[in-house]
């Protein structure tokens, strides 16, 4: 593997891993946000019911 091959390998792996982490983080974030929204709406309907 030539010199540029190693450079490409390093940069590729690094940015690939960072991208994968970002995607996984965004996914976790969105699912938590969705769950919070569900909980908020449930609480809102509870309050409406009580009134």
């Amino acid at each position: 593997m030539g010199a540029w091959g190693f450079v490409g390998l390093a940069y590729g792996i690094v940015w690939g891993i960072i991208l994968l982490y970002l995607i996984s983080l965004k996914r976790r974030y969105n699912s938590a946000q969705a769950e919070l929204d569900v909980l908020s709406s449930v609480e809102a309907t509870d309050r409406d019911v009580k009134k």
Binding site: F6, Y21, A32
Partner: protein
């Protein structure tokens, strides 16, 4: 709670965009404009990733230390969330550092890995904070997990200089002079273009780090809130 969220999200978005720009410019300068090293050739360009990675990791572990200390002192959830987030990112960047170093080492030293002082030190660092994450996930009670992890966060960070000293002495004393050159940046005669590439890359990494930290921190907050609300509703 939605009202305060929008400006934060917007600021985070700007941070992310800035990070992207800095990284792109850094890539361009590091790969296209900066000249290849006189001795190492093109492979030296990996250093534009390697140095910022390890410095970012150290910054992250420092934040773990601060968060852990604050948590043990004030017992506020947000410090614990900061510590946990910073630990996760620290592990990410340390792992990246080791990978980059390994790929750099293959053409430069001829080996993918060696038990050189600095490499051993970085591997130990990775193990310590992977241990931190494992500890958190295995203790069931939230508060006890946070306290235990906070202690680990503090002693882990303070142990780093000691581990550094001991590993360095271990590998360099009582050894015959090594043919392996430790990775030292030649600050005396480094081409200005290289310095620029390195600095811009570092700025890019920092911005990226804080963007990721902001996301991860918010995620931690949300998880906390979900738990609290579920508890309030009775399961």
């Amino acid at each position: 709670m939605k009202k305060g969220a929008q400006p934060i999200k917007k600021r985070r978005g700007i941070l992310g965009a800035l990070a992207l720009i800095a990284i792109a410019v850094g890539l361009y300068r590091g790969l296209a404009i900066a000249p290849p090293d006189a001795y190492q050739g093109q492979v030296q360009r990996i250093m534009y990733l390697h140095l910022p990675s390890i410095l970012t990791a150290y910054l992250s572990y420092f934040l773990v230390f601060i968060g852990s200390g604050m948590y043990l002192w004030k017992r506020e959830k947000r410090d614990d969330i900061l510590a946990h987030s910073a630990a996760e990112l620290g592990v990410l960047f340390t792992a990246l550092t080791i990978i980059e170093g390994s790929i750099w080492g293959r053409p430069t030293w001829g080996v993918w890995w060696t038990w050189d002082a600095r490499l051993t030190l970085t591997a130990i660092l990775l193990l310590i904070y992977i241990g931190y994450l494992m500890l958190r996930s295995l203790i069931e009670d939230e508060n006890r997990a946070a306290s235990a992890a906070a202690v680990l966060g503090i002693i882990g960070f303070l142990d780093i200089p000691l581990i550094h000293m001991s590993v360095y002495w271990w590998r360099t004393l009582h050894q015959p002079p090594s043919i392996l050159q430790p990775n030292k940046a030649p600050w005396e005669n480094v081409h200005p273009s290289m310095l620029i590439a390195l600095t811009i890359s570092f700025v890019g990494f920092l911005l990226l780090y804080f963007y990721l930290l902001s996301l991860r921190y918010r995620f931690g907050e949300m998880r906390c809130e979900i738990k609290a609300r579920r508890l309030a509703r009775g399961g």
